[in-house]
Symmetry: C2
Subunit: 267 residues, 2 copies
């Protein structure tokens, strides 16, 4: 199932070829919810073994336009997993101290430790997305970043971190509805900022920047997955399944015991 | 219920006055499990509001002898809460870099950010527990630490962090059974280390060190709770209830919306 969502490594991707309402197979809201529940149970057990094994880590990178559902995906996929296994790092506007270093400095510090599942809510990709769209640094600086990102991701992958990069792909129409819903529902209004509308005007620029990021950084060791995200229930099910499959493939094992425990009696 | 477990602020505590098998009220395994389920639902909602409010934080400090159930408590109390709200920090043997600083340096860095629930799996209290029992630093150094800890906890409390300190109190007999169970069950053996037995021999020294820590650092702004922990289901229920009550008392509110949103239509 997930294979269909992954573009070919290092090929030019056109987002218009990926339908944000696409559904692979015979899914509906109910069967997806059931699948998520099953996935959570398996993930909970495998996360425990990953933690016990203490040798490798998983890093889920979540990117997407405003309202694409990064927070909602985390809530649905990880509520029910022991938070002791999860290191969730939201990347916001960089601090002055962070800006005083190269763009991967703050990212490197946040890489999950062995045994854990790290979740990046936004990531180093912002440095070729918002930075590129708003010309926050000169082109000569951001255009080398794709290469730097690939090298960095290979480094941490060599260090035992399995990367799972998901682009939550929504349509412009769907974003409109979600922003309007934030305005129309009193208890959602605190999430709305007028700045969101200014960003929305740059929709095409962002789509293009995403295409470049996915095209240039879809490597063997750190592939991108394009998640059809206009339907929240489908988006959550796909990410949840990808995570489960990643852990199943890792197949973490309990570590071996100390020698000479057989005759010990605790007193 | 929880009141009964809290010793008087800054009074001399004798752990023998607190029964590790104590049950306050009419609880059994089944009713406790139901209570935990209810608590988790309330905590999930309040944690979301705490996150939205983005003004205050909660810090749950978990301490206890080996096998007292720090990991198990985290698993039971927090599985079902959105991990995006939780920052769990396990404190292990300090690194060389950490030892090159005062004992609170690594702790301060790990204080939860606004909007989050931090969980310390062990904490700065190790610096008046294992450090004291094993004379890792001279007495002149550790004996001032109680005061430093109180000052530090008042500092972060002023900064909006509500502290909830729990000592998971087990009996020596119960620890014996739990260590033996780790030896006897093949899939639990990886958790067993012969070093655990050497530590167990220092049981009385550790109890005394805990008494000093609880007696000297049971302040108004950061009270200790002694959790009867010989029964896992009761321990989990009490910590889960304390957390829920702490959040209910905080009563976090959704932030107010931006001005001038009424006439906006998203295009």
């Amino acid at each position: 199932m997930t294979q269909a969502l992954a573009p070919k490594p290092l090929s030019q991707v056109a987002l218009k070829d990926f339908d944000p309402r696409h559904i692979e197979g015979d899914w509906d809201k109910k069967s997806a919810a059931k699948q998520i529940e099953e996935n959570t149970e398996v993930t909970r057990e495998l996360a425990y073994r990953l933690y016990a094994e203490n040798r490798r880590a998983v890093l889920l990178v979540l990117q997407g336009m405003d309202t694409a559902g990064k927070d909602g995906t985390i809530r649905t996929v990880f509520t029910g997993v022991n938070p002791q296994s999860c290191q969730i790092v939201p990347f916001k506007q960089p601090s002055n101290e962070e800006l005083d270093h190269d763009f991967l400095w703050r990212i490197h510090k946040a890489v999950p430790r062995r045994g854990n599942i790290g979740i990046f809510n936004r990531s180093h990709y912002e440095d070729v997305l918002i930075v590129r769209v708003h010309n926050l640094v000169p082109k000569s600086e951001w255009e080398t970043r794709y290469k730097r990102i690939n090298e960095f991701e290979e480094l941490i992958s060599d260090g035992g971190v399995v990367l799972l990069k998901c682009f939550l792909h929504i349509s412009k129409e769907e974003q409109k509805e979600r922003l309007q819903a934030r305005l129309d529902r009193p208890h959602k209004r605190w999430k709305f900022s007028k700045g969101d509308l200014a960003e929305r005007k740059l929709w095409d620029d962002y789509q293009q920047a995403y295409e470049m990021a996915v095209s240039n950084c879809n490597t063997e060791h750190a592939p991108w997955h394009i998640i059809p995200s206009d339907r929240k229930w489908y988006r959550n099910m796909v990410v949840s399944t990808l995570l489960r499959e990643t852990l199943e493939k890792l197949d973490p094992q309990f570590p071996s015991e100390e020698q000479g425990l057989d005759d010990i009696v605790v007193e």
